[in-house]
């Protein structure tokens, strides 16, 4: 159950596939069909391939495996849906891209050494509109 202030994402045609993927409990990233490189969010490929670049970019399912890239540990409550301790941060996926997320299972006190901790995607359905993507610590 979330409050009536829950921050639902603003979906647009560019981002809708990502959010739909989460509702299906899939982490989708954008992949170049020419060279297989992965991106997030929607991007043209960094390499110069034949045009049209944007049509070469397709959302594909990623492994969900990554590492903590950075994080912040909320020890006070700012919002009814995120009681402390709450860990926000950025995950670096094994495919390459980084994206904002929240973490479950990090040590309760902050320490920079938690950067690099192996994590894997978990999906937390909120309601029919949204499934939240989080990353939990696991022994690699």
């Amino acid at each position: 159950m979330v409050s009536d202030r829950f921050p639902y994402p603003k979906e647009s045609p560019t981002t809708a596939p990502f959010w739909e993927g989460l509702r299906n409990e899939q982490l989708l990233l954008v992949r170049c069909q020419v060279c297989q490189r992965w991106y997030w969010p929607f991007s043209a490929c960094r390499a110069d391939h034949n045009t049209p670049h944007l049509e070469n970019m397709v959302w594909e399912q990623a492994s969900g495996i990554g590492r903590v890239f950075s994080f912040s540990l909320h020890l006070q409550q700012f919002h009814p849906d995120f009681p402390p301790p709450h860990v926000y941060g950025v995950v670096e996926l094994e495919e390459g891209p980084i994206l904002p997320t929240s973490f479950v299972g990090l040590r309760g006190e902050g320490t920079p050494a938690d950067v690099g901790t192996p994590v894997r995607a978990v999906f937390r359905p909120i309601d029919v509109r949204l499934t939240v993507l989080e990353f939990e610590v696991f022994a690699s």
Binding site: P7, P9, F69, L75, F78, H79, Y88, P100, G110, V115
Partner: protein, 401 residues
């Protein structure tokens, strides 16, 4: 290098900080503009172009209004440009816009005004039972990161501190040394919200974490207030009381390289901004008498000191901790206290302090013989908070060059 062709000849500043006031952002803009025009020795009829400095972050609640300070004041403008800014970078973009308007002869004098009501707005929210608005980064609808609990500015700004600690070994104490150094400057600035509040490193280390690794002293102020300036050509400026010449401006974007290389949490896109500004000004970094570095939080100061080149990459924390940003230091930084201890009006805070120092009006904190200095700007991230920001460099001087 060619002499500067543009100068700021007037600056207007309303009451600032924790002000018990009921004025809207629009009214604060208008008041600041009125003061700037007066300070420039002009009348309203002299203004040909007006620029509003503000910005909407992705999903921010900082609203734009339907009216214009130029209309409110009765400025006979040919052009009113609204919503110029990217996050905390307003001033340099507005100056660039004004420079072009002057080049084209659209105006003899351009006024740019920016205002915020973050403090009084947060107080209104608290009176209604809310926790306050932090830095107003809590959007009405989510964007990337919001459903995961990016609930306040510190949620994502602190990610830079964590990353920098992890990659370069920056310590909590070094973050605290930024807060302490700037508080010392604020203690000499009667306009600073923290003017009468001392801060020692022991105070800092005793404070609880709010959003680890950040404590309250890592956060910037929440402020009400408006700032405006009048820009004109250098030849028109030569007759004015104290022209401040725009010697260089430059910009950098993380979306160019740092985003793709995943350097965007431990580095900022300073290089192209710095190089353009220094080249235009015809000076070296070491010629700068001061640096008003955008300091929404402490880590940004450390990162900018490194990326401008005042110290090696990774050494910014030690640089501040060793006292190099004080009055006697290699580069006095945020000499009025900055956003951390004075007030938060984006990089208008730094602009006002630069103007004050260059005019010799900085009182107890005056840098003797200050002639040329830097104001930086930061923010306006794309993708998600903290992820992909702009950086700006502005060099102002008493000398036309």
């Amino acid at each position: 290098m060619a002499a500067s062709k543009y100068a700021i000849i007037g600056c207007g500043v309303t009451e600032l900080g924790h002000v018990d006031q009921e004025r809207s952002v629009l009214q604060l803009e208008a008041e600041a503009a009125r003061l700037a025009i007066e300070d420039a020795g002009l009348v309203r009829g002299d203004i040909g172009v007006a620029v509003q400095m503000t910005s909407d972050f992705s999903g921010s609640v900082r609203t734009r209004h339907d009216d214009s300070f130029a209309r409110v004041l009765g400025l006979p403008v040919n052009l009113y440009m609204e919503n110029v800014g990217r996050g905390g970078e307003y001033a340099t973009l507005a100056i660039m816009f004004g420079m072009k308007a002057l080049d084209l002869g659209l105006a003899d004098y351009v006024v740019a005004a920016g205002a915020r009501d973050d403090w009084s707005r947060s107080r209104r929210v608290k009176r209604l039972g809310g926790r306050g608005t932090g830095q107003l980064h809590m959007p009405k609808e989510g964007a990337w990161g919001k459903p995961n609990g990016s609930v306040t500015a510190a949620s994502f700004h602190s990610l830079l501190a964590t990353r920098h600690m992890s990659v370069y070994g920056t310590t909590h104490r070094q973050l605290g040394s930024v807060a302490v150094a700037q508080r010392a400057w604020a203690n000499m600035n009667p306009q600073a919200t923290m003017y009468e509040k001392r801060l020692t490193i022991d105070d800092y280390e005793a404070a609880p974490f709010i959003v680890w690794p950040y404590r309250i002293f890592d956060f910037s102020q929440q402020s009400d207030g408006g700032v405006a300036f009048v820009l004109t050509t250098a030849d028109r400026a030569l007759g004015s009381a104290h022209p401040l010449f725009v010697r260089g401006i430059g910009f950098g974007e993380q979306m160019a390289e740092q985003w793709w290389n995943k350097e965007n949490y431990a580095s900022l896109p300073v290089a192209t901004a710095r190089d353009a500004a220094l080249r235009q000004a015809g000076i070296q970094l070491t010629d700068l008498d001061f640096a008003q570095l955008y300091d929404c939080f402490t880590a940004e100061v450390i990162i900018q000191l490194e990326d401008y080149g005042w110290c090696e990459k990774g050494e910014g924390g030690a640089f501040v901790d060793e006292g190099h940003t004080t009055a006697d230091g290699e580069i006095p930084v945020n000499t009025g206290g900055g956003l951390l201890s004075a007030y938060h009006l984006g990089n208008l805070t730094g602009l006002v302090e630069a103007v004050t120092q260059l005019r010799g009006e900085a009182g107890d904190r005056q840098l003797p013989g200050a002639t040329i200095g830097l104001v930086s700007g930061h923010g306006g991230e794309v993708v998600s908070g903290g992820m992909c920001s702009i950086h700006s460099s502005l060099i102002l001087s008493n000398d036309q060059g």
